[in-house]
Symmetry: D2
Subunit: 130 residues, 4 copies
């Protein structure tokens, strides 16, 4: 079981060109301030953006996150989260993706943009991460 | 038990002016590519930077992450991770912090910079997140 | 004459909810590699995003850039550039805006997201920048 | 004359491992709020970081900015600015650099981190920017 499954993240797949993930918030996802930890929203976005990039590649290729900036707008404590990622630009070796996380009412909770390094296999190489 | 404790993150506290956290990697922290998921390194950094900011505030005040950019340099699969965060600048309402994650050999795995909104209580207000 | 006018940047104003600026590239805007310097595209975006934020505020209020991340996609050497900025989220003290720069054919050259601190006057205060 | 020379930016070169640039602020560098425009500080940092990366490469190779995040701390109106950039990490195709801008008293005005794509020539290729 990988990290996202361990956290309870569910894969919805491509919906209207965006890669979609969902998560039903539980007490284990909360920070000491009793809000969803920033790391939960980041994990949703990093995964949604990376999967959106992979969805554009030939089978068997993968990607590794080079950088990702996340902006948070609103704390959240309960309910279902929905993350969507889109691949906006791609060259031979790099891709740029964007996405956001909304709550059940569709309110924007966080937004991210990131750069991904494209690899020849799903496993990223040990030497070529940055 | 909050999210960081659930993940097994250990708090070392202030060491030479930086707030330090550690984590012994386990299989549950790995992505499908069998590397530590980017969300694990992010959670370490978001927490280390936020705690470094709080360490500079009067007792009872807190902070919420406005934005955080993480850059990844090297995949990691096992061993102990050590994250350090420092508060670099602070005004009445905002703070800027930086930090990194290294492995047991001290090799740089990731680096982050972020902006934090300062709050009057440890619980961030519902309306003033961005 | 302010910096943007000095560079030849033209203000188009609000177009379909986005604040639009244009620039006809000249040799003075090029880097040693004979492409538009990254600072030119950044100046267009920082200004477009900031003006999009100010357009949402009551008259007389202003904003200061807290942070801005720009991603570059394609070098450009000549022709007209068009930058658009949108204010996506706003609270009492902070705003988040996004935007992009395209060339005459509408090709995406760069994209930016940023956080702005809202001020009571158009002049930002000396003490409250971060 | 390239864009940085046009703006009056002076190259100091490598000082203690960092690439250093300086600029004496003039009225043409100011925004309508009569502070140095964010684009001026960004141009200093983008150039300092890129030159720090190039200084680590074999002669004849160059780089293009993939992404750069800048955080602003303090407005500035006059005096000399000093930007320093350091290359922190490098692989075969990418580099990560950091830097800051200080005023004459050494006060921190802005800080940036960025990713650079390494190219075989000083001129970046038209197709491989992102």
């Amino acid at each position: 079981m990988d990290f996202t499954a361990y956290l309870g993240i569910e894969t919805r797949g491509l919906v209207d060109g965006a890669f979609v993930l969902e998560l039903a918030l539980e007490p284990r996802h909360l920070s000491v301030a009793e809000r969803a930890h920033g790391g939960i929203l980041f994990t949703l976005l990093d995964t949604a953006l990376g999967r959106a990039v992979i969805a554009e590649l030939p089978a068997g290729r993968g990607c590794a996150t080079v950088e990702l900036k996340i902006n948070y707008f609103r704390p959240v404590r309960e309910g279902r989260l929905r993350a969507s990622g889109r691949c906006v630009q791609r060259t031979r070796s790099l891709a740029y993706a964007e996405g956001d996380v909304v709550n059940e009412e569709g309110k924007l909770l966080a937004r991210a943009t990131g750069t991904f390094f494209l690899t020849d296999t799903l496993r990223q190489p040990d030497r070529e991460r940055i």
